[in-house]
Symmetry: C2
Subunit: 449 residues, 2 copies
């Protein structure tokens, strides 16, 4: 028999999983819409030239490239003129949602509003080695606000993310916030020379995982003198201060960009909900393209804690296909991780269907099919999901099937019911049953459930 598994690192989503994913996606969309973000969708495949050299060497390696077709590829194979992979491919699967956004912004700049805000929830593909929680096809869930350098944008994004996490039922979330200029101000104030600042950021990014001591050690390993490394780790690791923003502000008081960063952060905290959005001078966000505020959403309680999304301002990236830089800030929610944690924590709403239908309409005989159809129609018109049993099997078999698919009620239309123009409805959990007229069918089912 042939292999019937999905391709390596990819997943089939059976009904219950689709419903759970759609629930989370639905909440995210609804909140983003309320904040004036609009939906965007781009093709799964992009021209290879659009994606090449955008993700570093590793990205180029992990990209799924699509073989050329027809005469072109046939000729190349025949002539043996193949020297490198890119001779064979003309398209590649989307690797993230940011490069497609940059392409869209460049391509439709005259149609889109100046402060275009979009969300995009679509799969991306990376040929990574699959592992627990790491897939080769996975959804990204990005929101970005284009065209303004104002911190109001970060405020709106931050508030929207808070709304989403609350709406999904997370009670232990925090948004940790820092500013790249403040971070570089602290690095400089610790005595680390400018050329080594990038190294310091890379090491600092591991603070959560390996702890202060090892971060300092790694800085030393990266050529930073021990005294400066320890000083920096000390400053960002400070946790008992009442007002960390003020104390950090004092340290970088003479540093222009850092002070501007402090002022940005002050505005941010004034505009976002207290208690949830917190200054964390140790937050580094490894990616080099951030230029201002950086943010990370984390869960703090229990086994399933850690980062569930991040973002910030990146004013240099979105203009990549044009001539001018375009300011932008964004956030990416870790959809796959959120779904995993919601499953582990049993957070999906009870109303979410985990059955094929709520009611099974039994079929007595092919002669009474029109009656069963009528009953099914009335129930469906009443907004209730009804499964019409397809063949006149024995009633016991139909009841068993109703149970298997998780229906809560079965409707029986036997000879006596048809004679008296009634339907027998039966609650499958407690065997309670009654005969009702078609008029009162929908409300009777709702009562019985």
């Amino acid at each position: 028999m042939s292999n019937t598994n999905p391709a390596r690192g990819m997943r089939d989503f059976l009904p219950e999983q689709v419903r759970r994913r759609d629930h989370v996606i639905g909440v995210i969309r609804e909140v983003y819409e309320k904040y004036g973000f609009e939906p965007l969708e781009t093709p799964a495949a992009e021209n290879l030239s659009t994606l090449t050299n955008k993700y570093g060497e590793e990205g180029d390696q992990l990209m799924f490239k699509i073989l050329e077709r027809g005469e072109k590829i046939r000729k190349k194979i025949e002539e043996g003129k193949i020297e490198r992979e890119n001779d064979l491919a003309d398209l590649a699967l989307r690797y993230d949602l940011t490069v497609p956004l940059a392409r869209v912004i460049a391509n439709y700049r005259h149609e889109l509003p100046r402060f275009f805000r979009r969300y995009q929830i679509q799969p991306v593909w990376r040929a990574d080695r699959p592992a627990r929680g790491r897939y080769r096809e996975f959804y990204q869930c990005d929101v970005d606000a284009i065209g303004s350098r104002s911190v109001v944008v970060e405020i709106d994004i931050c508030e929207a993310v808070c709304d989403i996490l609350e709406e999904l039922g997370f009670e232990d979330y925090e948004i940790r916030v820092n500013h790249r200029s403040v971070l570089f101000g602290l690095i400089s104030a610790s005595g680390i020379e400018k050329e080594k600042a990038g190294e310091a950021v890379v090491a600092l990014d591991k603070l959560d995982k390996i702890g202060a001591e090892k971060v300092a050690e790694e800085m030393v390993g990266r050529g930073i003198d021990r005294e400066s490394a320890e000083k920096l780790v000390g400053i960002v690791g400070e946790t008992d201060s009442e007002d960390r923003l003020s104390s950090v502000a004092k340290i970088v008081a003479n540093d222009g960009p850092a002070s501007e960063g402090i002022s940005n952060l002050k505005d941010l905290f004034a505009g976002t909900r207290a208690g949830r959005v917190k200054f964390d001078p140790s937050l580094a966000r490894g990616l080099s393209y951030y230029t201002g505020v950086i943010m990370e959403a984390v869960l703090t309680d229990g086994d399933f804690s850690g980062s569930i999304g991040g973002g910030g301002r990146y004013d240099e990236l979105i203009g990549m296909f044009g001539k001018e830089p375009i300011p932008a800030a964004g956030f990416s929610i870790g959809l796959e991780r959120i779904i995993l944690i919601m499953e582990e924590r049993n957070m999906f709403p009870k109303e979410l269907p985990n059955n094929s239908a709520d009611v099974l309409v039994a079929l007595w005989s092919m002669e009474t099919l029109d009656k069963s159809m009528e009953v099914a129609r009335i129930i469906r018109d009443g907004g209730i999901r009804a499964f019409l049993y397809p063949q006149p099997d024995k009633l016991a078999k139909q009841i068993k099937y109703a149970d298997q698919i998780g229906a809560r009620v079965i409707c029986i239309l036997g000879e006596s019911e048809i004679e008296t123009e009634k339907v027998t409805i039966k609650n499958l959990a407690n065997a309670e049953q009654r005969a009702v007229s078609l008029d009162g069918l929908v409300s009777a089912i709702k009562e019985l459930e």
Copy 2:
């Protein structure tokens, strides 16, 4: 400047288009759910071996294949050991939704209910030559009911499709229905020998496009004698009979399978809505895998008429990955075509947002940002989409922007408003405005709109 178009034959969907597509998809999902169909999603890419030889030679040509990665491909290129396309690829993009369904049925047969009913609305990819309405990435929208040979399944599918088309607002739709055995019965009754029956079906499938005369001509060209060809075209083309099913039943009365087909159709018409579901003995559905009832949804009025979906029973296909045949019936709604026609006919509901937000909250100064945020929050909590203008530009500029993004109301929070704890709300269409307190803000906006 680089090419910023989407890849050839593929499309970006800007916000208004996404909302329209989601509206149609939402209606389809809601109806199918009510009929006990459940959502399924499969990966964009399948193992190449899963898809190869499933779609004929043309399908293998038009499939987007994915290049192998890493050492494997590097080695092959270095050694020059490439003889055919399939030496280079290990995956391919999904070409339809039926083969993935068959794979899922085989892979999870112990987890899925016996009469599994699923809908699947996902893109597929075909490297066809792009043309008006023909794309290389397009959505298919399939519903299939597995595991029963009963015509009840076709009835439920047919009724669900009617509900969907009505819910979407189509008033001129019809579901044309035939049965493969009836069709073959008529072909035989016309005197066409069994070996030529397939040729007759292929020719008959063109009846709508080229008319009766040319169909008969084509049959003759395919080796069918003129008398039989004209007889067949005459029978299926008959339109003035009161009860065509009875008259056709008489013609095939001595043909066992055809009479069984007639009985199937009688049950179908008893169970489906009259006036919409119509017997059409000329309906052929070219694809060879149908084994019973065949259906086609058509629009009948005006310029944008024609087929918008089709399906039927195909009892041999879904078992392709297992040892036993699995009965199945399904329907595929032509999503791309429906969206196109709804656009041409201007059928999208007026409530569907075609703007970025309903309200623009103006920003007076960075010092009053917290007030503007509070106003935005109240509006959003009231379920209204609010765009917070990101920077303290001149009010005229902010009003102009509100207009550009289609907001209907602007909220102004100037110094006098803040002093009196009021907000000025202004209808942008008629310039009507008033000052209201935060308490009454949401209801005042709803009144003003």
